[in-house]
Symmetry: C2
Subunit: 397 residues, 2 copies
């Protein structure tokens, strides 16, 4: 049984704050500052350029990739870290499209994170007028998979509502239709059990700064199924994906397997932070995490619906259909979240009317959840959102 008191002790959280926004940016794990300082002072400062070998920087994207891989059901050597999620989406899509040269459609849904859609659209425009990004409603995806679809691009958990797609089912359906699949795990990795290998996805991508707690701008990851990894052409063919980067050949020859998905020089400080952050997961069982996460979510829903029924549940009621977040709708959503933050509970807002709360048992208890719901309902009862200062638009929420 996972000891969530022990994991909680591995995070620093500001005094008096209940943090329900780890689905946007995970909090600071205690091990991170010392590890980053070591990377800066003892490695960069003392080893200088030799740190690439002596401190193991060159292998860090693969070593950390293996640690992330364990959390998403990927075998060692099939995940590598680097770049941002948007770049990894582009890379996976471009590689996938080339594997289906007779098809021209990327299929996605309107619940996908917009950046994924933007990157796909940008790639289609680069490829030419025949290529098309087709988006349908989330519930219409399965029926929209036909033999015109080259690639199905799906984010498993909806960033607004927490609605979770049935990964294995959609992948099986896509493969049946001869399409490939790019699966975005931004709100899945570290949030719910994932089995990229068992579900037989072709590509998976995700970020590390949400449930994996790597800090602002932490690197993304990419998984390529081993059956494809040695045949895909990496459209973003950077030197560190070359078979022999330090031969400095004029011609590109892709490296073996997942190595070819590396592009440029990796961000070592961010990777060091992530590596330290991943220590939290060493003793965590994903089944325990999922069960506890659903208890926290269900409890929050029950408290809020009992205490402030004017907030309408925007997430699926059934836990199995949610990721690790719960959302409500209210026309004053933005101002309510501001009032809540002022009262020590950090959640966030997504346009036009979504109040969004992320849950993880790594550092949240039932007491936190009950207190957060109580504070939220007090704001609603007192209409406290209706105050000066809470109504200007957020630049970032």
């Amino acid at each position: 049984m996972t000891d969530f008191t022990a994991t909680r002790a591995m995070f620093t959280l500001p005094e008096g704050v209940i943090y329900l926004d780890g689905n946007s940016l995970g909090p600071l794990p205690r091990a991170v500052p010392a590890r980053v300082e070591q990377t800066i002072r003892a490695e960069w400062g003392e080893m200088l350029i030799t740190g690439w070998n002596k401190a193991g920087w060159m292998d860090l994207p693969a070593r950390v990739g293996d640690r992330v891989g364990r959390l998403i059901g990927a075998a060692p050597g099939t995940v590598v870290m680097g770049d941002t999620l948007s770049i990894k989406v582009y890379q996976a899509l471009a590689s996938a499209l080339e594997l289906r040269p007779d098809r021209r459609v990327i299929l996605s849904d309107t619940g996908n994170f917009p950046s994924d859609l933007y990157m796909a659209d940008g790639l289609c425009r680069t490829l030419g007028p025949d290529y098309q990004l087709r988006t349908v409603a989330p519930e219409a995806v399965e029926d929209a998979i036909d033999d015109s679809v080259a690639v199905l691009m799906i984010t498993e958990v909806d960033y607004r509502t927490g609605r979770k797609h049935d990964m294995a089912r959609l992948i099986a359906r896509a493969h049946e239709a001869g399409a490939l699949v790019v699966w975005d795990l931004a709100h899945s990795a570290g949030a719910i059990p994932v089995d990229v290998s068992g579900a037989d996805t072709d590509f998976a991508v995700g970020c590390s700064y949400k449930y994996l707690n790597s800090g602002p701008g932490g690197p993304a990851f990419i998984y390529v199924a081993p059956r494809l990894a040695d045949t895909v052409r990496p459209a973003l063919s950077g030197w560190l994906g070359h078979e022999a980067p330090f031969a400095f050949d004029l011609d590109y020859r892709p490296g073996a397997g997942i190595d070819r998905m590396r592009v440029g020089t990796p961000s070592i400080l961010q990777l060091a932070a992530l590596d330290a952050a991943l220590d939290v997961w060493d003793e965590v069982d994903m089944g325990d995490l999922r069960a506890r996460s659903l208890e926290l979510q269900d409890s929050f829903i029950a408290h809020v619906e009992a205490g402030c029924p004017e907030l309408a549940l925007a997430s699926p009621r059934e836990g199995a259909q949610r990721g690790s977040q719960v959302s409500f709708r209210h026309e004053h959503g933005y101002a309510i979240i501001q009032a809540l933050i002022a009262d020590g509970v950090i959640g966030d807002f997504r346009a036009p009317d979504i109040l969004r709360f992320g849950f993880t048992p790594l550092y949240l208890s039932q007491e936190d959840v009950a207190l957060a719901a109580e504070k939220l309902c007090a704001i609603m009862a007192e209409k406290r959102w209706d105050r000066a200062g809470f109504h200007h638009r957020a630049k970032v929420t």
Copy 2:
């Protein structure tokens, strides 16, 4: 007159080490550790998600971009940080090619850094069989610019020999032929005076971990000429390049000017390190820096040629034709560099036979240079490279 004793005091360097590899990875500026620690503990740790606004993370790529811009002759609001140099090369090339839809050729030279060539080649393959990367010898570039060329892609300073292209001349020639220019400043920014605006380049890109000392994996930069910035389509159309990222529209609308070249979530720890590292430049005059750099280089060449003439100068003899590095050739180059590192002088090796030494007056003195040359010549005199342990191939040098 720039005070280079003052700048030297702004770096930490290991006791007894003479560092001639700042053209690979700049050393640690003293201000960096505290700044990164503040970003981690006081910003990420305490502000959590609100750091994007409260700590100014969201604007950091633009604010730091302006500081880098000042060093390369770019006006405020024309440079933004992000991603890696390879990604920025791809982004600039893709944007440039679209501005010349009737042309199909990217022209570059065999002295370019291979990753630039790989990225260009990858883009051409994605665009289709009509597109072509054409590479000629560095000295043949000017004559190879004809009206088939859509984009001229040049790295100003050769990473192996330090040979410097005549930027203004090549740009003028390219424009005359109706081509656009993507200029790679990896070995220029912080190394030599650059005037992207005066030279009228269309795009410029570069990295920050060499002469700008941002640390391993620090972010890249991209400049787009203001006359183009509002019309280019960013092929890598990520959400932070959107006109209104937090509206979460399903359709991409590029942001104003250079903002549209942002892609995904920026690496805040690396940007904080860079921002602190840039303090070094506040009192530096680039003309002073260039003059002193050439003195150091010329002195190194004179010492080495006097003391160990068996090393053949691989760099142009005339300072005006070099960047801020000096290279020699020797068949045992790799082993010589290993012996030199063992003796406290860090330079590096580039296949097949280049010994490469970077110079910057920011932290190097004439005494350092004389001592480094003396140690190098002692190794040559004693044939000290010819020892066990120095002959295995470098993974990274």
